[in-house]
Amino acid sequence: MMIRSILKLAVLVFSAVASLAATSVVNAAEPLKIAFVYLGPVGDGGWTFQHNQGRLAVEKALGDKVKTTYVENVPETADAERVIRQLAVDGNKLIFTTSFGYMDPTLKVAKLFPKTYFEHATGYKTAPNLATYQTRFYEGAYLLGVIAGKMTKTNTLGFVGSFPIPEVIRNINAYTMGARSVNPNIKTKVIWVNTWYDPGKERQAAETLVAQGADMLAQNTDSPAVVQVAEEKKVHAFGWDSDMAQYGPHAELTANTENWGVYYIREAKRVLDGTWKPGETHWGIKEGMVVLKPLNPAVPPEVAKLFEAKMKAIVDGTLIPFSGPLKDSTGIEKLAKGAVMPLSDLMAINWYVEGVDGTIPK
C-alpha cells in the first residue's frame, strides 16, 4: 500500500514536471516574428516614421509574444523581392510591405511562401496569403481643406504632390473639395516633385507655391520640408503622415496622420489566434487609423467648430467626401447629386475635381 502510494505520488510528480516542462516549452516557443519593409529611412519624419511607430505599438501591445524586424531604404526595384524573400526565409510569419512599388515583388514572394502572411499597403493585388490595407486618408485631407478654405486670405491653396498616382490625386481632390465646401472661390495649385522623399525638392516646390500666392500649404510627400517653408514664410501648412508641429509650431494648423498601430496590432493578434484572413482593408477616422492632431490655437473658434462638426459627420457617415454633385476641373459632371463614387473608381481616380488648377501630368 505504502509502496503503491509512493509510486502514485512519483507518477503524479513526474507528470506534473512533465506538463510543466511542456508548458514551458510552449512559453519559450518562438515569438511571432513580424517584419516591416520600409521605403524611406525610419527617421524621415513622415510616412516611414509613422509605419515604424506602428511597429513599436505592436511591440508595446504584444510584448514578448512578438519579435519585430525592419529593413529601411528598400528601393522599389529588383531589390525589393530579395529583401521580402529573405525576411520570409528568416522565419518571419507576418510581413508588411509599406509602399505601392512593393506590390508585384510581394505577390511573387507570397506565392513561394504559402504559410507566411503578407500584407501590402496601398496596392490592389491580393492572394490567399496576401492582404492589402490602406487608410481613407482623403477624409483627413478633406478636413484640412475645410480649415484652409476658411482661413485663406488669398483664396489660393498650395499642394506639393509626389507622383500623380490615384492615391495622391484623391488627396488633392479631397483637400480641394473640403475647401470648396466652405469657400467656393478657392483654387488649388499643385506642384509635382516626382519623389516621395527629397526635402530639397519639396522645399523648392513649397517656396514656389508661396511665391504664386498660396497661403495654405499641404503635401503628399514624406518630409516636413513644406511645413518648415510655411514657418519661414509666415503662411500656414498642415502636417502629413506625422505630426510636424516641431518643424513649424506656428505654421502647422493640424496634421493628418496615420495610426498604423491599430491595424498592425489587430493583424498580429489574428495570426497569433489563427484567424488571419486575406482581404482589402480601408480604414478611416472612424476606425482610428486616420487621426487629426489637435488644432493650433491660431485656428479661430468658429472654424474649429465647423471642423469638428464635419469630422463628426464623416465619422457617422452623413458626409461622404466623394459624392455628387461633383464636376471635374474641366467642368464635366462626374457624379450626379446624391451619387457616391464606387470604391473601384475612387481607387483608380485620375482626374482633378473642380477647383484644382492645371492638368495631371501624363
Binding site: 517584419a35 529611412p41 525610419v42 524586424t69 525592419y70 529593413v71 529601411e72 531604404n73 528598400v74 528601393p75 522599389e76 526595384t77 529588383a78 531589390d79 523581392e81 530579395r82 529583401v83 524573400r85 529573405q86 525576411l87 526565409v89 528568416d90 505601392f100 512599388g101 508585384d104 490592389y124 507622383f163 500623380p164 498616382i165 490615384p166 516626382n194 481607387m347 483608380a348 481616380i349 485620375n350 501630368p361 501624363k362
Partner: protein, 367 residues
C-alpha cells in the same frame, strides 16, 4: 613639416595590390565601427559578408546584382582610361531600359525568338544614343562631359517617369505608374533554377572578355590607352581625340544601356518609374576599385554587390541602419584613393633632412 613628393617610379605591384589593401583597411574600419556600435564584430562580419551568399539563392542574388554593376563599370573604365569623365551611366542605363522595354511593349505578347535579341539591341542603341549627346557637345562645343552626362541622368529618369505615368501605362493597372508585364519571350532566360540569375551575367562576362581584347589587342584600344596616359604623345602621333571621345562614350553608353534592358527584361519584368538603385553611380566605384581593368571590374562588381547584400542582412539580423552599406562603399573608395596618392607620391619630412631612400613602406601607403 611634411610634404608630398612625386615618386620617380610608381610601384607597378602596388598598383595591383592597392585595391586589396583598401579592402583590408575597409574591413579594419568595419571592425572598429561594429565594435563601437556594440555588436560582436565576428558575428557582424559573418552576417555582413558570409550569410548573404551562403545559400544558392543568396549567391545567385550576388551574381544578379553584380551584372548591371559590371556592365556599367566596363564602359566607365574605358572612358576613364581615355580621360573622358563620364559619370552618366545611370542615365544610359535608364535609356536602355526605355528603348529595350519599349520594344517589348511594342511587340506585345509576341513569341518570336527575335524578341529578346531585338530588345537587347534596342537597349544598347538607346544607351549609346544617350552617350552620344555629351560626346557631341564636348567635341563640338567643348562642354564639360562630367556635367552634361550627369544632367542627362535626370532627364532620362524624368522621361521614364513620363512614359510610365502616361503613354506606356498599363490600362488595367488602376492608373498606377507601371507598364504591362512583358511576355515570356521578352524575358531573359534563367541560368540557375530556384534563383534569379539570368542571361545578363553571361552578357556581362562576355563583354568583360571583349573589353579586355579591345583594350589590349586592338589598335583602337591602344590609341585610347595612349590618349589617357600621355595626351600630348597621342596628339603628336596624330590620334584623334574627338574620335576617342565618340568611341568611349558610345561604347560605355551601349554597355550601360544593356544593363538597363537586362534589369527590366530580368528581375523586374516590366517598365516602372524606378528600375535601378543607383547602379550607374556605384559603377564609378566599381571601375576604380577594378583598376579600370576588365577583370578588376568583374571583381569590383562582385564586391560592391556583396556590400549591398551585406547591408540588407545587417539590417535584418543586427538591426543596424541601412547607412552601413553607404559607409562601407565610401570607406572603400576613400582608402583606395588614399592608396593611389601614396603610389604616386611619398610623404617627406622636410624639417629633418631624411635620406631619400627612407621612403614610407608599402603598408603605410595602404592604411
Amino acid at each position: 613639416m611634411y610634404r608630398l613628393e612625386k615618386r620617380p617610379q610608381p610601384s607597378a605591384v602596388m598598383r595591383v595590390v592597392s585595391p586589396l589593401l583598401a579592402a583590408v583597411a575597409m574591413l579594419v574600419t568595419g571592425f572598429v565601427v561594429f565594435t563601437l556600435l556594440g555588436k560582436d564584430p565576428a558575428q557582424a562580419f559573418y552576417v555582413f559578408f558570409i550569410k548573404p551568399i551562403n545559400t544558392s539563392y543568396g549567391f545567385g542574388e550576388l551574381l544578379l546584382k553584380a551584372s548591371p554593376l559590371i556592365l556599367c563599370g566596363l564602359g566607365l573604365a574605358l572612358c576613364y582610361r581615355a580621360n573622358v569623365w563620364n559619370i552618366g551611366a545611370e542615365g544610359h542605363l535608364t535609356l536602355g531600359a526605355i528603348t529595350g522595354g519599349g520594344v517589348a511593349l511594342w511587340l506585345g505578347d509576341s513569341t518570336s525568338l527575335f524578341a529578346l535579341p531585338l530588345m537587347l539591341l534596342a537597349g544598347a542603341l538607346g544607351g549609346a544614343a544617350w552617350g552620344a549627346i555629351p560626346a557631341w557637345l564636348r567635341n563640338r562645343f567643348h562642354t564639360n562631359e562630367i556635367l552634361v552626362s550627369l544632367m542627362l541622368v535626370y532627364i532620362a529618369q524624368l522621361l521614364l517617369s513620363y512614359l510610365v505615368h502616361g503613354p506606356w501605362r498599363d490600362p488595367a493597372g488602376y492608373n498606377f505608374p507601371q507598364s504591362k508585364a512583358f511576355g515570356e519571350a521578352e524575358l531573359l532566360p534563367m541560368l540557375i533554377q530556384q534563383t534569379r540569375v539570368n542571361g545578363s551575367l553571361v552578357l556581362a562576362l562576355v563583354l568583360a572578355g571583349a573589353s579586355w581584347f579591345f583594350s589590349e589587342k586592338t589598335f583602337a584600344g591602344f590609341r585610347l590607352q595612349v590618349a589617357g596616359l600621355a595626351p600630348a604623345a597621342a596628339a603628336y602621333a596624330g590620334f584623334s581625340e574627338k574620335r576617342n571621345v565618340w568611341l568611349v562614350m558610345l561604347l560605355s553608353g551601349a554597355s550601360a544601356g544593356l544593363a538597363g534592358v537586362c534589369e527590366v527584361a530580368g528581375p523586374i519584368g516590366q517598365l516602372q518609374a524606378s528600375i535601378s538603385p543607383g547602379y550607374g553611380f556605384a559603377a564609378i566605384i566599381v571601375a576604380w576599385v577594378g583598376r579600370l581593368h576588365p577583370l578588376g571590374v568583374v571583381l569590383g562588381g562582385l564586391l560592391m554587390s556583396l556590400l549591398y547584400l551585406g547591408g540588407e542582412a545587417a539590417q535584418m539580423q543586427l538591426a543596424l541602419p541601412s547607412a552601413v552599406t553607404g559607409l562601407f562603399q565610401g570607406v572603400l573608395l576613400f582608402y583606395l584613393l588614399a592608396a593611389d596618392i601614396f603610389i604616386n607620391y611619398r610623404l617627406r619630412n622636410t624639417a629633418t633632412a631624411t635620406p631619400p631612400n627612407a621612403a614610407p613602406s608599402s603598408t603605410e601607403a595602404g592604411v
